[in-house]
Symmetry: C2
Subunit: 570 residues, 2 copies
Amino acid sequence: MKQITGRELKEASAEQLKQYSAELREEIFRTVSVCGGHLSSNLGTVELTVALHRVFDFPHDKLIFDVGHQCYTHKLLSGRAELFHTLRKRGGLSGFPKRSESEYDCYDTGHAGTALSAALGFAKARDLKGEDYNVIALVGDGSFNNGLVYEALNSVGILKSRVLIVLNDNGMSISPTVGGMHEMLAEMKDGAPSGGKEVFEHFGLTYRGPVNGNSFEELLPALEEAKELLRKGSVLLHVVTKKGQGYSFCESAPTETHGVTLSGERKEYDRALGEELCLLAKSHSDVVAVTAAMTDNLGLRPFFDNFPDRAFDVGICEEHASVLCASMAAAGLKPYYAIYSTFLERAFDEIIHDVCAQNLPVTLCIDRAGATGADGETHQGVFDLSFLSFIPNLTVAIPGSIGEFRAMLRLSADFRAPLAIRYPREGEEGAIPKVEIGKYDVLHSTTSDIVFLAAGERCLSLAEEVRAEALRDGIDFTVVNARFLRPLDEELLLSLPQKSIFTLEDNALVGGLGDAVARFYRERGVEKQLRCFGYEDKFLPHGEPRELMEDFGLDPAAILRAVKECHARG
Amino acid sequence: MKQITGRELKEASAEQLKQYSAELREEIFRTVSVCGGHLSSNLGTVELTVALHRVFDFPHDKLIFDVGHQCYTHKLLSGRAELFHTLRKRGGLSGFPKRSESEYDCYDTGHAGTALSAALGFAKARDLKGEDYNVIALVGDGSFNNGLVYEALNSVGILKSRVLIVLNDNGMSISPTVGGMHEMLAEMKDGAPSGGKEVFEHFGLTYRGPVNGNSFEELLPALEEAKELLRKGSVLLHVVTKKGQGYSFCESAPTETHGVTLSGERKEYDRALGEELCLLAKSHSDVVAVTAAMTDNLGLRPFFDNFPDRAFDVGICEEHASVLCASMAAAGLKPYYAIYSTFLERAFDEIIHDVCAQNLPVTLCIDRAGATGADGETHQGVFDLSFLSFIPNLTVAIPGSIGEFRAMLRLSADFRAPLAIRYPREGEEGAIPKVEIGKYDVLHSTTSDIVFLAAGERCLSLAEEVRAEALRDGIDFTVVNARFLRPLDEELLLSLPQKSIFTLEDNALVGGLGDAVARFYRERGVEKQLRCFGYEDKFLPHGEPRELMEDFGLDPAAILRAVKECHARG
């Protein structure tokens, strides 16, 4: 679409603003249909973002998005309309705010709950540096469940600064928002006396609202008032928007249209999780499932439907969910905590402190592990093997297929210690093999002096791909499905006759399988030549997983070259 | 002291309860004077704990302590009086709740904010298993600032279970409690209309209180009422206690008497931090300091006194503090975030997502790194090198003395990227050397074929100790002060003529310096014999740091044996 300039926006009539909004909505819909991305949240916030750009003066003023997936209108209004068709593609615009992309993006986000803390940091810096700008945090009601938002709220008075929090209340956090804060906000929306206004005031915030966030008639005066109030202190403006606004099928199915994936993508590990947990729950009355606002994306819907009393969505509260699992395990249940790899970083301390230090039988089902693609830096799952590698008492499994994932889940039911299973989004079903803790599977055995230890489905495919190429040159090698990071299959590693070991993992190279295998041989005094392939020491930007793999260290051509060199040396 | 039994407690007269409390208080005071530990918090909760044991039926009912440092009276009342003199000593009673120690300890704690989540987990498990017991979370007002508590509060309604939260409000969280929640609780204490009661009700809690938590006359009926209310739903009982109660010097100096360390212990890295940050702040107007309720323990008092506008204690909010630092850096300030190693685990996601992904110049001053001693599993700082090792953009420094720490801080002022400096509590001052990023210091150069790469003051001392022993057998080796984990001193590593490399680190062996050095040589195709010393793959219990080092992998005798073997082989 044509770039709408700041001046045009500020001079537009009410009618023109509506017209711009219609154009923006259409552009977002068209682009997401082609590029994938977040649809309903962006459709819901068109008027709100337009109004913010109308009333405030960006980039002089600072707009910080919580999570940031709802930034498309902002991108379209800040000089990036002509690039918008590159959204989420390698080298194109990010689907999230990026300082590297525009001065209009002052702070990068991706995980929930950071915006208010960040706004306070900007405001405090402004004060100390004697500068003069407004700081606005745009936070969804889903994030308002997150502990980080509460910690920041608690700090508003401590920091004695001035920020505007625009609470974008659409009642959703991918899944519908849940919990006490949601109840309170709901009553405030209804105008019922809730104590909420008074409490926000204790936290140093002047509360205004609720206003209809899809109506310029309500939004513009409310924002003007908030801007005026902001000269004196911090303000919370409660804005109610409709997720998916303008497209009826998005309005009626906001969860399904939260993130749009392009057709042709496979999506099966999550389905297997739902199916297997339902089977387990039937045979094991102690099985329960926990998620942090991700029921559908993790495949848990069948479990929630069939075992509603044993299924818990606690909202975007990854830490609390971990402690809940640990304590339910301590009290005799068998909890399964399903979570994306990148969001598990939020629960790192609780996985150590609550789950593993007490050696409790919690099973972590870690989805979206490895390169995840189009959401970029903040959503890659490439650190989990590294941050799980050094936690005592923890077993870490890496299924090589969906069938293996099923086998691991079946095995988990009677496993009495912490277990992490990490897997990518998509995969092949494959057979359901017999899996033993800490035992690898030799897929091809050869007399070659080279062996590949490949962890996970993607790396097994990669190994097969390299092998097919190598075979053309008459070079073969053994391929081992390295199903566990912890414990390693020590017996197999000691029995390998090959001198040259190649490790392949869909994870950062630092701290992953390669380092673990090297450490094992070192400690046992066994001399091997190790070549380790995984992601180099960089944050992975957005792009297709396969592109990222090639660009950052899991490049079949490079691996093949290493095989040939190794073979040539004998 | 003599063991007070549950029956005695339940049958005691009001006068006897006071007498028991006086005895318990005296026993706590006497033991902490000898063993060290948490004093004022335990003195403040004697009556509250006695009353809980009187009204409830432990271990059938479940009592979960937040943080857990205030559990001494509970230990004395649950069959451990005769062992109490072993408090915090190797092999003795832990200073925190431990399931492994007693069935009265149903859930291990150590970090703030977990108790309510854990209570909800127990309560839900009880419901699902058709059991019948009461679950009580005892939470301090300091923890009430923590996001995890809020996430759990938000879940009370979701989980539809019944728990009793006893809010122990003493106005302290090591440092005085701060922030909006504190303000609200203060008004509730004063009986002013605050909205707080209504808000807690939205969260599914019946609010009762405040009651004087040092008075049985108020406590016993309040707990009886809460127990009755608990049959219908969840209850928040607001109890006001006086930290240090009964010892006037503790009452008047609760921060100073929060943790008692034994005389003779050195404590100097924190002092250096305070001094250096004050110097930096004078010359650099952009320098600010942030802490999560640990001003004094981290040595920041002089900075807070001299630069109150640039010093921020945000309460027990490690995550928020990280985002605050990242955003202040994005807005042009130079933040120093001082934190204990173990508590940095709470901010792991934000260090990746906010600080390092944006490559912002935040300096992490990581105190209490390595084995920390008497507080046990939940307070050891032995994972930080592992969990910082794989984060792109991050520089990780390990000073070899307090003087070096000063040099690193001075260097940091103009360093424009994320920097972590990790150090133990105690050390030697030493000279202030010239330090360059990624450059090691060769302390002893020999023609021996063995080189020690030792990281940090303790490991340098250990290397010297082993060397002194080895020299008696005519064996010498080179000692290198490995000041950085990231980046390694690649030039030095490549130039080392020695074939045998020993790495020593006060950190878990998995994912630390040894693995990094091994990876470097592997990637460069350099053949070396590495022997790595650090903590084995276990949680370190309580004990003196030196004892833990010897017991878990940094044993001078074992290292000396390895040196001799290596030397013998030539």
